[in-house]
Amino acid sequence: MSQVSSDVGLQNDAPAGGDPSGEVAGKTPGQLFWARFKQDRVAFVGLGVIFLLVALALGAGLIAHYITHRGPNDLSLARQMRDEFGLPKGPNSTYIFGADTAGRDLFIRVIYGARTSLEVAIIATGISVFIGVCLGMTAGFFGGKIDTVISRTIDVILSLPLLVFALGIAAACGTTKEGCFGGFLKPGLGVVVFIIAAFSWPYIARIVRGNTLSLREKEFVEASRSLGASNRRIMFREVLPNLVAPILVYSTLIIPSNIVFEAALSFLGLGVPQHTPSWGRMLSEASRNLEGAPWLMIFPVLFLVTTTLAFNLLGDGLRDALDPRAGR
């Protein structure tokens, strides 16, 4: 998919010492990355789509206020936008995406849904990356018993029946006002973010651990250690910077799976609260009347697929640009 130009490849393959004549300028890793990345048009499109989605999500309120003059829960046209059986009407000049089952503007709900999806995905991914990096690096760097404990924990979590477990937590904590664990988990976005983060950090941790295991044996780490650097310094100043590339790539790839996970939880009625627009919940409602109101499924699916695809393409592009040796 992405193309790496031959001259970039050549530069990369140039001897570490460079040409003594000085005609070939040395490039920083950042410059190298950018040179490769900007030639990957597909990844660029992915990035563009993500920018657009973020802009839509951030601007949802403004669009609702200034353009459509309706919020995501506005029912002022609910009568006109449904027939006498309470069935929603399809796309028209007022509701460009049609009405949802309650007679609300589907367009506004879909773009507010982008906000929910991105919010959940980015926060949950952030938390899981943080936990994954901390534990993965600790396990890989120190090895021994610490590694055993962390690695086995990861194995246990990865072997849990994810969806069943997630449904259990969501059902237990998401349907009472008090939440659970003494109010630690309150119903709503919090539960969804917690569940997603709790189940996705092991993937990051495993990758980080593997990379740390090989990095800690490298010469520059040995050199640093022989100069008397502390473990902490080595971890944060020597190892961590070298982990940035895989972390970035896998974070980008984990975001779409988290978006899909949130949609699945909401589809099953255990995600975000009822009135919060969510693509998953919209799909769940659409399945009741696919024949009569296909737009209820088409638009949320379109946005869901586009978003996950964009993040995947960007992730692939980043991986290619950051680590051109990685095969496809």
């Binding site: 309470g86 069935l87 790839l253 009625g269 609260p273 009822q274 009135h275």
Partner: protein, 622 residues
């Protein structure tokens, strides 16, 4: 790329799952149609054939045990096809279907002058079906009451008999001669001695729990729901395979093969009923089968394709299809459901503990919006008070204490009412920014139409400054039946009559003496006392009105018309002085049928098709 492929696969699977959920397709349902030999033509009703029903669930409350079943679906099957009761119904729709007529009784009872003694002579030609196959006697009716009085059986509406029939108390074992108020003389005479005149007593003797039960079988099944798989027929049909039941001992009895609570129920003709006169049950079909199919969409498609004969409460898209197609329209049957759907307001929980807030909620609610969430006018009339109009003989047809234009709610009147509330200190017509008014807990069901009602309720309540925190759950009834949960508002409940007297609404729903800390049906806590609050461990909001005296007064009224007026007055009092509900739908009962159904009648008592009057043309079944 593995990751990407996985994601693509997950996405694809999700879309496929959704399409499957929407389009359905369940081909492994047992085929039941097309074996009849008689072809019905024109309006002629030909006996024979197999009636097939599919439903998402049986919805039984006690495994089909007649003593514990408390919902219309089970009553419809029992009273139309399986069980005869001392008094019964004509099994027709409308007012005629609510009339009470002798069933097992040979004629109307003799009632003593003080209205406390009812003497019945039973018919001598009714027999139990196989394998019992012996005449039904008064002793079998008396045994049904002993079961009602047996605690472990958990007879859910025992309250209609306890305190009414002398000596009938629920206990561990009432013993063979345990109920002093029920006297049996010979095989055919049964006398009921009541503690007080009870105007609707005959209705109570038409409830399935009072149908005769053979002790030789049922004595082995005295825990709740157990007898459900061994029900012995006293009417036109029986469980398929009943004749194979070995009743020589308790140990030898294995569940009858014709009923599996998770899969299906099949009824066939009861050979012991042949030649028994029964003017109200013509028993047209040869067999009747209900099969569980969790895919509603699939059931509806199968009814449209004449593969299944009945579907109850079709979804709005299917309803639309039936109503807009002239060929399909005659196959849609809409009858009065004698059922009110309502939003319950908790009189002991802020901010609904203030009558002005409750009135404001009634004024502001967009009832038409709620009805649209149900599927529009076919689903029923907008309800403006508690008892369905069909049960009050039209007395309150024009009564709408909180009526508004187009039933869309009246925000101005709501604001005026709200201003008088203690929660509107700044007098702006909106509930203040106090915690009592913000994020008010609401428990709803997580299935339609509840899910579609929530936006309407949120939108309406926002107009009077109340924001709600809706919790949509699978089982919404448990929290609202648990006093300690203090649920201020819930749009989940509906209440259908047990029998055609309004007492069946007023008693269970508003009598403070029936309030239980758990499993309570007086969700609004009308008449709740400080003592009960202490018992249930909740703070008492104070000053909660009671209508217990009004209920006692109405129930003692023997004259039917006077009693109805008494209930109508109480309905008005509740709506104006207590305001426990926002009633919004006086619901209809809708059934769609296949083209094979040649005769349809509605059973007003149970709110289901009058199954024994359903006739099918096997040649039209696919």
């Amino acid at each position: 790329m593995t990751k990407k492929r996985n994601l693509a696969l997950i996405g694809l699977l999700m879309v496929m799952a959704m399409v499957a959920a929407a389009c359905g397709g369940n081909d492994d349902t047992p085929g039941t149609g097309g074996t009849g030999t008689t072809s019905a033509t024109g309006a002629d009703v030909q006996p024979g054939g197999d009636v097939t029903i599919e439903a998402e669930e049986f919805g039984f409350t006690s495994g089909f045990d007649p003593s514990g079943e408390y919902l219309g679906n089970a009553w419809g099957v029992m009273s139309n096809m399986l069980l005869r009761t001392v008094m019964g119904y004509k099994h027709l729709g409308g007012a005629e279907g609510n009339e009470i007529v002798p069933d097992l009784a040979a004629q109307e009872p003799e009632v003593s002058d003080d209205g406390k003694t009812y003497t019945f002579t039973l018919r001598d030609d009714v027999s139990f079906g196989p394998p019992v196959s012996r005449p039904v006697t008064a002793r079998d009716v008396e045994y049904a009451f002993r079961r009602i009085a047996t605690k472990s059986v958990n007879a859910l509406y025992a309250g209609y008999y306890v305190g009414t029939i002398e000596g009938l108390e629920v206990g561990d074992d009432p013993g063979k001669d345990g109920i002093s108020g029920i006297e049996v003389k010979g095989d055919n005479q049964i006398i009921f001695h009541l503690t007080k005149p009870t105007g609707d007593f005959l209705y109570r003797l038409a409830m399935p729990a009072t149908a005769p039960i053979p002790e030789e079988v049922a004595k082995c099944f005295t825990n709740a729901g157990e007898y459900g798989r061994f029900v012995i027929s006293s009417a036109g049909y029986m469980f398929d395979g009943s004749d194979k039941l070995d009743i020589s001992s308790c140990d030898s009895m294995k569940p009858i093969s014709g009923f599996d609570p998770t899969k299906f129920m099949k009824l066939v003709r009861n050979p012991d009923n042949e030649g028994v006169e029964d003017p109200n049950r013509p028993n047209y079909a040869d067999t009747w089968t209900e099969t569980i199919n969790t895919n509603t969409n699939d059931i509806e498609q199968r009814v449209l394709a004449d593969q299944v004969d009945f579907v109850g409460t079709p979804t709005p898209p299917t309803l639309k299809k039936f109503l807009q197609d002239d060929a399909l329209k005659p196959r849609l049957h809409v009858d009065a459901g004698d059922r009110t759907w309502y939003i319950t307001l908790n009189l002991n929980s802020a901010p609904m503990d203030d009558i002005h807030v409750r009135k404001a909620v009634n004024w502001v609610m967009d009832k038409e919006g709620l009805r649209l969430a149900w599927g529009g006018p076919t689903q029923g009339e907008i309800a403006n008070h508690i008892i369905p109009d069909t049960m009050l003989n039209g007395e309150l047809d024009d009564y709408a204490p909180y009526g508004s234009e187009g039933d869309a709610g009246d925000a101005t009147k709501a604001a005026e009412e709200m201003k008088q509330s203690k929660y509107d200190k700044n007098q702006d017509g909106k509930c203040d920014e106090a915690p009592e008014c913000q994020g008010v807990l609401e428990i709803s069901s997580n299935t339609p139409p509840n899910t579609d009602m929530i936006p309407v309720i949120e939108d309406s309540l926002a107009k009077i400054g109340i924001t709600i925190d809706d919790k949509a759950v699978t089982d919404a009834y448990t929290p609202i039946q648990t006093v300690s949960k203090q649920v201020p508002i819930s749009p989940r409940p509906g209440w259908g009559k047990d029998y055609a007297d309004p007492y069946t609404f007023m008693g269970p729903l508003f009598d403070s003496r029936t309030i239980l800390c758990e499993g309570n049906s007086n969700y609004s806590l009308v008449g709740f006392t400080q003592k009960q609050a202490d018992e249930c461990g909740v703070p008492y909001a104070g000053d909660i009105p009671s209508v217990d005296d009004d209920i006692d007064n109405c129930i003692a009224t023997a004259d039917d018309a006077e009693r109805q007026t008494c209930w109508a007055d109480l309905d008005k009092k509740l709506m104006e002085e207590v305001v426990p509900w926002v009633p919004y739908l006086d619901a209809t009962q809708v059934y769609a049928t296949s083209a094979a159904v040649t005769n349809y009648d509605f059973d007003q008592f149970s709110g289901t098709p009058a199954w024994s009057r359903i006739a099918v043309d096997p040649s039209k079944q696919q």
